[in-house]
Structure formats: structure tokens, C-alpha cells
Symmetry: D2
Subunit: 383 residues, 4 copies
């Protein structure tokens, strides 16, 4: 896919990969064990500009296009899916505020987000909700003068343990509503979630809102627009980031598996000389290429504001996360017993990959959405 990139994009990709090779790969297993990304690392990312990659220069961001944002996520995905998830949520919050915030909100939040002084978390999912947005239970009740009182619960919120600001979505009566809530808001309590299968260092949290005051100035967009206009912006970035993270993990599996196949002997024979292994390798390498192109196409369509950008992001996320799960399982096989130990990155990949098939919409939700799209188009062709 590299030949589809501009020289500038290629140079950035080199930077990203060098950063990850130096600062992420060697320590990602430690973070996984500790169930925490160190604050230092977050500051390193901030300093490199990676936390403000998609925000325009006027707010202190890098103003990179979506393709470059995708390359950034792919590079980080190779090192640590848990850390990449920070790029995911930061972009989800930042881009939603950029697109739908008023000038005051942008001035207040975007510079800090762009410089990575503050982490934004996207508080959408609820205990009872899965991926069904219409069933959100979080309630905004009228507080007068455009203000609200907020009650409810959110869960599986990535970087909820770290975030300085939460983009919270719920309902005010029949109207979906979103607001920006600072961490220190009275009535907000944050409970870390530990003991996860993967993404162990991504600082997930459960949030509880008990009569939290939401001033009018914190409400994002118009009442009724949160699910139809605001959330889709964040979710598009969420899907692209996750798709590219899966692509990076997939590449990681491929690189680790082929290096092992090329150097590890079983008796007199190299692991990679067995045809049963070669089938796995061939499939994995082809999937890296296919997933790479799907991610690129989704990013480019987003940059070009094509109407098909939504479907393309769905396809990229669906394909890349499934290919990552399959590649991680195969990479462990190629490594054998050694691949089942935490010293082998493939062991972590196997756990993290599964999360990628669940966050930002499970593969089954993606099948529903894609099929709906495809069959509607089919209906047009049929008449």
C-alpha cells in the first residue's frame, strides 16, 4: 500500500514506525502486565504531536489528513493496541468537538486536546446497551436556562481512568443529547475496570453520573442531534482508528510469524518449511495487503468526504479486525508453545485482537450494517 502514499505520508510513516519501535514495542508487554500506560509515555506522545494529529494547526494540532492519521494508528497498532486506543478516543472526542462544538467550546477544549495536555474519552456505551444507541438510559433532565442534570452509567470507557474530559451521550426526554464533562465534575465517579482479556493497559473505566450539573455551555450541538449528527463523527474516527490498529497488529503477527518460521527449527527442519505452516503464512501476508488497502481506501474516502466513506470504514474495520484475530491465532500456532508465553508478542496479540473485533461495534453489528447497505443497493439494481 506504500506506493499509494505521497512522499510526505511515507516520511511520516517512517517516523511513526521508528517511534513505535523505540518507545512502544520494547515495553508494551510491561504495560500489559501493569494494566497501565505510564504517564511519561502519554507525554511523549503529546510532545510528538500524536495526540492532536487530526486537529488543525489553528488549535495547536498537526492538521494531518486522515490517511496520515491511519498510518499513525497502524504504526502504533504494531506495538500496542492498548496504547493505540488512546489515539482512538482522543480523535473521537477532538473531531466531534471540532465539527459540532461552538467557538467557545472549541477554544476551551481543542488546544489542550491538540497538545495532549488533556485526554478526551468518549462516553457512549452503557451497561445494558451493547451497540444499540436508541436504548441509551443516561438521562439529561432539564435544569433551566439550557442547563441539565445528568444521571446514568457508562461502561467500558477507554482511558476513562486518565481522561480529563468526557464526551457524554444520553437522552433529554426523547431527544438525544451530548455534553462535555470535565473529570472533576461533582457527582461523577470513575471506577477502573481491570482483569480484561486484552487492551489491559487501556485504562478502561465505569462512570456513574449522580445528579451532575451540566451548564448550558457544556452542551454540544443541538438537542436531538447527538445520535444522528455528533456521534457518527466520532464513530467514523473510532472505526478508522480501530481498523488501522488492527492492521498494525496484523502486520505484527505476520512479521513475528515469518521471522519465527524462517529461523526456528523443529528437529532438522525449519518451521517455515512445512506446507501446513506455509498455507497459514500465505493467507496472513495476503490479508495484511488486503487490510492495508481497505484501510487506505477508507481514510482517503474520509479525506475526500465521499458518501461511501462510512461503508468503507465499516469494511476496513470488519475485515482488519477479523483478519487480526485469525492471524494472531495462526501466529501462536507457528510459534508453538513459546507463543503462549508473555515473552512472545504473539501471545498478547492473540488477546488484544479479540477486543478489536468487539470495540467500536462487534463484527456481527458490522455485518448487520454492511448487509443493510449492500441489500439496499441491491434493491436499486434489481428494479
Amino acid at each position: 500500500m506504500r506506493s499509494f502514499l505521497t512522499t510526505e505520508q511515507q516520511a511520516r510513516q517512517d517516523d511513526f514506525r521508528a517511534f513505535v519501535a523505540r518507545h512502544v514495542e520494547p515495553v508494551a508487554a510491561d504495560w500489559d502486565r501493569a494494566q497501565k500506560v505510564p504517564q511519561d509515555t502519554i507525554q511523549q506522545l503529546a510532545k510528538a504531536g500524536y495526540l492532536g494529529s487530526t486537529l488543525p494547526g489553528k488549535y495547536g494540532g498537526q492538521g494531518w489528513d486522515t490517511v496520515t492519521f491511519g498510518l499513525l494508528n497502524e504504526a502504533f497498532g504494531r506495538g500496542s493496541a492498548a496504547l493505540t486506543d488512546l489515539l482512538t478516543v482522543q480523535a473521537m472526542v477532538s473531531m466531534t468537538v471540532l465539527k459540532w462544538g461552538n467557538e467557545e467550546q472549541k477554544s476551551r477544549w481543542l488546544p489542550g486536546l491538540a497538545r495532549g495536555e488533556i485526554v478526551g474519552a468518549f462516553a457512549l456505551t452503557e451497561p445494558g446497551g451493547g451497540s444499540n444507541l436508541q436504548s441509551l438510559q443516561t438521562q439529561f433532565t432539564d435544569g433551566g436556562d439550557g442547563s441539565y442534570r445528568l444521571n446514568g452509567q457508562k461502561t467500558w470507557i477507554s482511558y476513562g481512568q486518565t481522561a480529563g474530559v468526557f464526551l457524554v451521550v444520553g437522552f433529554a426526554g426523547a431527544h438525544s443529547l451530548a455534553c462535555l464533562l470535565p473529570r472533576e465534575a461533582d457527582g461523577l465517579s470513575i471506577e477502573p475496570i481491570t482483569g480484561l482479556l486484552g487492551f489491559r493497559a487501556a485504562g478502561l473505566a465505569r462512570l456513574t453520573f449522580r445528579d451532575v450539573a451540566v451548564p448550558a455551555a457544556s452542551v454540544l450541538g443541538k438537542p436531538g442531534s447527538a445520535l444522528t449528527y455528533l456521534a457518527p463523527v466520532g464513530l467514523q474516527y473510532g472505526r478508522i482508528s480501530t481498523a488501522c490498529s488492527a492492521l498494525g497488529l496484523l502486520r505484527g503477527c505476520f512479521e513475528e510469524a515469518t521471522a519465527r518460521a524462517a529461523t526456528r527449527k523443529v528437529g532438522a527442519d525449519m518451521v517455515g518449511s512445512f506446507g501446513t505452516i506455509r498455507s497459514l503464512v500465505a493467507r496472513m501476508g495476503t490479508d495484511v495487503e488486503a487490510a492495508g488497502l481497505l484501510c487506505l481506501a477508507a481514510c482517503r474516502a474520509t479525506d475526500e468526504r465521499l458518501p461511501e466513506a462510512f461503508t468503507k470504514a465499516l469494511m476496513a474495520k470488519y475485515f482488519a479486525s477479523r483478519a487480526a484475530v485469525s492471524a494472531a491465532a495462526d501466529a501462536v500456532q507457528i510459534w508453538g508453545a513459546a507463543g503462549c508465553h508473555e515473552d512472545a508478542p504473539v501471545s498478547r496479540y492473540y488477546r488484544d485482537a479479540k477486543i478489536l473485533e468487539i470495540i467500536e461495534g462487534t463484527s456481527q453489528i458490522h455485518e448487520e450494517l454492511l448487509a443493510r447497505n449492500f441489500i439496499e443497493a441491491g434493491a436499486k439494481r434489481a428494479f
Copy 2:
């Protein structure tokens, strides 16, 4: 993938698809039944310039780039894989002669090939040989003054029933050798192969050479170069053409399946409303996109003469043909009993798709070649 194309390429794609919708789709089932493409159709293709698509204008060809050639094959693959195979073999012969023929050979053969007055067939595969080229049994024995006598057998030769010229590969002692053999050569006998599972209209033939005289002027390239230099040129075009044909068939499955899912009821419910069907549709549509991008990347790498063009063509062929087989099987399921009848294009797709996974190297050969490539690269990374 369309957004990756130039305006000119897009316009050509529109032409190709319109041609196929008009002249191929409505009659492809008849050709399949008759086990023959009518001569008229071949002339229509010739007139449209499609049989000389990759040859330069100076020989009467269209001089289209490989991306455009790929689009042509994709469009035809939607209509008839058997007819597309004509584009395959014509390009294989034409491009090998263009690259390795001497000026005299080019003048003699290329104009006719470019204008489609003559069909070229690629006579490589042998009864005992499968995909192993080193084991070819066809013998060129020295006839003096650079001439040879040719003996041996070739089989599964697409459009062998129609071809005016054969590019024959064999051995002269230890040296691989290739020549161009006109249909009327003494000692060449051509036996049609009928009763095939798919590609029934592709006019396959068995060739027998009994002491055929091969004048020095018919020898293509230098002795010893046939397998290492000449054949790879043809095979690269063969793989790209087949990959794109598979892509077209895959799109056909997708379009036919979604149209059916959108309009056909089982009892009160639309077929496409069942989640078990939706999974199939989602996968199929995503594969269309992925295969399309892999084909495009292979074509572009060929146009840019990148060293990875070979691997990219392998990946495109491997992925697209397997996806086509899987999509065809699923499309028949979505059609149900009606999909098992020759009136349904998906019934033909199911048969033709399987051939795509075998010609130009089986999927298993592709796995071997890809894995070798990938593991060699892995060895470099590992040290």
C-alpha cells in the same frame, strides 16, 4: 476502488461494462451450453480493440496501461469467465512477443494479434506436469542452423480450438526453449476438450506435436531463457487477467445475490432480512472491495515496474479466486433452489469460479510461492 482511477480509466471502465452488459451477459449462458464462443463475438471484441488492449499503438494495439487492462478483464469477468479467458491468453502471448520477440517476429505477429485477426494461445501445461515447469517433457531437437524438430504434448490449452498461433514452451536438451507455432504447422494436431466443469466456452484443447519443423525464425528469445525470462512475462499477465476475471465474477455474485436478497420473499419475509443471509452478504461485499484493491495494486505495480509486482499479482490472484469460489457458493445459497438452475447466472458462476482457483497456478501453488517470498523476507527481519 473507483476513486483510485484516473478520469480516463473510469471512462474506459464505463465502456467496458456497457459492452459486457449488452453483448456478453445476455448470451453467456448460451455459450456455456454450446461449449463455444461464437466467431462473431470474437470479431466484436477485436473491433472494439479489446484483443490488442496492451499492445502499443505502433503495432495497432490500444496501448492501455495494465490498470486499464485489469478493468477490461474485470468487466468481462462479470459476464463470462470463459470469454475473459480469451483476453487472458491473447495478452499472455502478445506481451511475451512484445518483450522478447525480435523485430521480425514482432512485425509478423503483433499487428494481427493487436487487431484480433488472430488469437494467440499459450501452450505451457502438459499432461504430466501440473504447475511444475522444470518437468516439461516437450522436446525441441536440433534441426541444424538454429532450427528444431518439436515433439510432445500440451493440454488444457485455453482457446486452443481457435488460436492461430501457439506460444510453445519446452526443452532443447537442458535449455528451456520457446517458439511461435502457426496453427497450420505440419505435425500439429489439435483435439478439443469438452465436458468441463466450468470455462466450458473457452475452447480448450489438447495439442500433439509430431516432429513439427520449427525454423530458426520462429524461436523466441535465446535458448535457456524460456522459463526464466519469457514465461514469467506471460504468466504475470495471465495472473493479473485471471485475478481481475475472478474479481468480475465475484462482483457478479454480489450483485446477483443482493438483488435477490432484496426482492425475493420466503413466506412473508424478504430473503435479505435473515441474519444468516446478512452475514454472507456482508462478507461478500467486503471481499469485492478487498479483491478490487488487490487487483488494482497488482496492476499499478506492474505499470510502475516495481519489483513487488510479481508478489502482488500472486496475492491478487490467490485472494480473488478464492473469494470468488466462496462468494459463488454463498450466492447459490441466497438464491436457493432457483440458483441451481442454468437460468440463474450464479449457477454458472459456481462452476466457473472453481476453474479460476486452478488455472494460472492453483491456490496451493500460490500458497507455496507466497510463503516462500514472505518467509525469505521474514528471515531478513529476523537477523
Copy 3:
């Protein structure tokens, strides 16, 4: 699975397989081409007692248990899925009459069915219907004194071209109703269906009923019971027969593929020496064993009248037909180009296998039915 059989069952299995090896395998390809099973063959089956295998001795049948019936179908599936379909429909009709017919109906029809003098066809599926039984359009209108007039259409009726009697299911108002209709009934027209992907010799037909007189004596069971009581008996035998036919075809793929892998060289190497091929072979052989056991378990549960017999038949049919499709596709790969020619049984297997995934309920319908069952059981465990 053989060690689970009684000595008598094993002996019968040997007979069945010997019969098929002698009378079916050598000529199945001819029938496929001719789209017809010769009348002689049907008489051979009748003479061997195979058309009355499940009927009790008092009606002239063999009185074999369902396990033996399964072995019979498995043996025939190895030779010709199209011919096995005759065993399917004969058992479907015979067993429904045996279970739900009155004494007069049994005396009239069962001896002829048992001795194979007459073929019974199961006329359930309709043009608009797929697998949804509640939406049948065939109408029985009251003719007085318990008689009816029959109007409607049936399609994809196996051995409709040959059958002497049809078990027709439709509705009389809101009540489902079934009757036995002799071929010669006035107003019944029978139109052969040709040009099928597989099961080409199974003599499928479209039936049209135009005001056909149905005397009271021909009505099978009570009005309202046809879908809830009668059809399930036939469908259970239909599923078991099809599952075992798929098992036989699967074994055919396995035997043909391993024989080829063991004897065919590509260059200097035996096909079976490639690891990419070995994976396919290992999977195929394991599927033969698994499918064999699932079929056996379904047959035994039917013999023991266990409530789980229904689910077990669903699982056997679902697994075996899918495994057959996958094995046939792999067997063609292992055969290479030769496997795409009608001289190779695997080429026919590839086409016939697909039909097995559609008749007697598609795999998707099976997924629906199985999942409903499993999730209901899950609900009980959950509380």
C-alpha cells in the same frame, strides 16, 4: 463408525457398497450427462429391495431399521447423489403413509412402494415458497362428502418425472391438508426441469394442478394435521437420507482425493507430499469420521424414538452437506485441472454437493432451526 454397527448392519453395508461399486459408480457420469436414471436401474434397486427398505415386511418391505437405511443412503451417495435422491423421496412418501395413512391407503399404496413397482414423490415445495411451509399456496377447495378440488403449483419435485404417486401438501382454507395423487389424475400436468447444476439425473419436475378431483379416500390424515404431523415424518426421513447421501459423497471426495494424492506426481513430487495439500486431506478425513458419527447418531435416535431425533437429524444434515461442499471443492484442487473434467468423479461431486446444501432445507434454514432449539435450551439453563 463401523465399530458402532451390529454384525448384520455391517454385512448389509458391505452388500450396499458392493452394489454401488458394480451398478452405480461406473455409470453415474453417464446418467448425469443424460439427465436421467435408466428405468432398468430403478428396477434393479426395486429387485434388491432398496426402494422398500424402511417399510415393514407385512407390506413387502425390508423392515430395516433407520441405521441400515442410513447405510444404504451413504453407500449410494458415494456413487450418485442423484440416484440416492430416489431413495430419499421413496422413504419420505412411504413412511408418511405408513404412519398416517388409514388401513385402506396403506393396502393400496405400500406394497407397490415397498416392491418398488411405483415411485412416490413428495410434493411440498412451491415456486414462491422456499422452505416456509406456512406460506403454501396450493389450495384444496371443498368438493363435498370429504372430497376436494386441488389447484396450485409445485416445483423442484425430485423424481417427479418418474413418480407414480405424489404426496401433495396444501391448504384447505386455514387447515393444512395432504393427499395422495396418482400420476394419471386428470388436471395434473408434469413438466420436467432440466439444466440443473447438480442432481441432473434426479428427474425433477414442476407440477401443475388444475381443478384436480381428490376423492375423500385420497386424503391423508385429518385436515389441519398435514404440516404439524404428516410432513414432519417425511421431512425427518428426507433429512436423514440427504445427510447420509452427503456423507457418501464426502467419502467419495476423500477416497478420490487421497488416491490421487498418493499416486499423482507434479514434477518429481507426489501431490500428497505438499503440506498445503496435507492440510486439506487431514480436514477431509476428519470430517468423514465426524459426519459418519453424526449420521449414525441421528439414525439411532430415530430408531429409539428419542425426542432429540429431530435435532440430531438437523445437525447431521447441516454438518454433512457443508462438509461435502467443502470437501468437493478441495478434492478438485487436489486433482488439479483433471478434476475439472467430467471424467473425474470429483467434478460431479462438486456440482452435486451444492444441491445437498439446499434440498430438504438450506443450511441457513438449518441454522435458524438449530439455533432456536439451542437457545431455548440455553434459556432453561440460564434461569
Copy 4:
């Protein structure tokens, strides 16, 4: 598969499952976290006779047949694959000693093993070895009078942290040799392995032998017989135990997934109402049945000492472990985010299942062994 069991076997199965439901399921997650099975639990198993299940009564064992041993492992696999691994290694050591030990060795070791006073570990795998037994590096050097000095290393030894005796396999010159080594032997050092992906509580260890004295009385069987006669006995039990453990885990996935599908809502809809989920459930349930039958057939063939017992154990292990991996991945999808947390058994299943595809021979080794078997049989059919 239950209907294939004797009344006694069914009663034992009920006991086993009740034991597991009470003593294992509720605490398996704790053991996983602690990376240790408590000594109490091992004593509970001992007391129940589960550690001597396959040893004859004369040594204090239960004398259960292999089918019952399989049921035991299946029941435990539902609760904890890590604990089941104790049953695996105990049977591997016990049955090898029973079959190949001399009377003195049997008297010394079997009673303690049978009563579970001592745990036996099977020390075969080496750091450089994978599944290739011919390349073992562990050396027995002649110590005179039939005694040896032992040097070398073993790794991934299940319950090496707990075992009182090790069955060690290596080479004495060109002859393979096995001995029984008590834990307290001088020169044996045992290093726990932690940080595993799955089987975290199975107490794996690395063993180092530094000039360990092996008296003649500890040598098991004749020199030269260790790989050809002794190890296969242990490995057969190892494969059967692992296959049944995988079956139990598979059932666990199925029960947890269907219970969830039946009770958990996403918005207004039950998870199990989505067709995309139903496909997964149908496949999973069918695999439970198929794997159950394959395990049963392998156990019965072992009990009946059929020559095909070896192949049947390979098939059972290959199918069940792969089905377990696939089911665990699907079960996590059905659970969604909640399935990625350690509170959900499916999260542990996902990690443990992968180990089952690696221990006692990877799936790829199984493919090699099975294909060799199948193709040799195919060669016989072909001539």
C-alpha cells in the same frame, strides 16, 4: 452422545459433572489469577479417585475404561482446562508405567499415583524440540551396571511444579531411553513457568538435569524402546485426555453462549434473535455433538484395542481443539464486551482453548500425521 453410554457410564458422568459444578466452576477463575491449583483441590480429586481413574483396582485405582476416563476429562474441561491437565499427565505417567514398568516399578509407583498421593509429570518436550521426538537432546550416559547419568533440559512440563515423579525421555547414545525420576533427585532443578496465555494454573515448569544419577531400577523398559513403545502409550492417553478436555471447554462455550443469547438484550432485542448470532450458535452446537462423538469413538477404539485407535485419537484431538478455539472466539462475540472480562468464563476459555491446539502436538503436526495415514490408505485403494 449420551445414548451411546452404558447406564454405569451415564451415572459416572453425572457424578463427574456434579463434582465440577460444585468444586471447580466457581473457583476456576481464582486459580487462573493465582496461577495455581490449591493443594486442597488436588487432594479432593485424589479422594474422589479421579487421579487413579484408569489404573486397575489391584494398585488402588478405579479401573475405569477409557470411555469413562474420557467422560471424566470432559466434565473437568467444562470447569478448568488447567486442572484437567492434571488428569492428563497423571494418566500419561500411570498408564506408561502400568504397561511398560516391571513389577517392582509398578509396586513402587502405581499405588501412590492411583491414590493421588503423588502426581506424575511427563517430561518429554525440550526447549529446542517442538514436537519432533527424534531430535531430543537429553542424554543418558552410561553409569555402569545398567545405571545412567542424566543431563539435559525439559520445558513446558505440566504440573512440573507439583509432581513427585517425572517420566523422563531422552537418548542413551542412539537408543531412546526413559526413566522415572523422583522430585528429590540430586541434580534436578525445577523452575516454574508463569505468565502463560492459558493453562495458567497448570503449574508448568522447566526442568534441568545436571548429572543426575539414574539407578538401573529407575530405567523404564528396554533401551531403544522409549520412543517407539513407551511414549506412544502416554501420548495416546495425552491426546484422548486433551481431546475430551477440549470437548468440555467447547460445551462450556456453548452453554455460556446460549444462556447469554437467551437472556441478554441489546436494546429491545434478545442477542439470540439476531441471525448473525444464530449462525454462530448453530455451528457451535453441532460441533459439540460432532466432537463428542469423535471423542467417544476414540475412547471406545482404545478400549477395544483397535488398530485405528491411534488415528481416532488424532482426529478427536484435532477436531475438538480447533472447534474449541473457534467456539471460544464466537462465545466472546456473543457475550460482547462483558465476555472480555475475567468475570466471564468465556474470557478464560478463549485463552485456554488456544493451548489445547498446541499441547500434545499442534494442529499442524496432527495434519501431518493424519494426512500421512490417509494418503497411505489412499495409495492402497488406488492400486
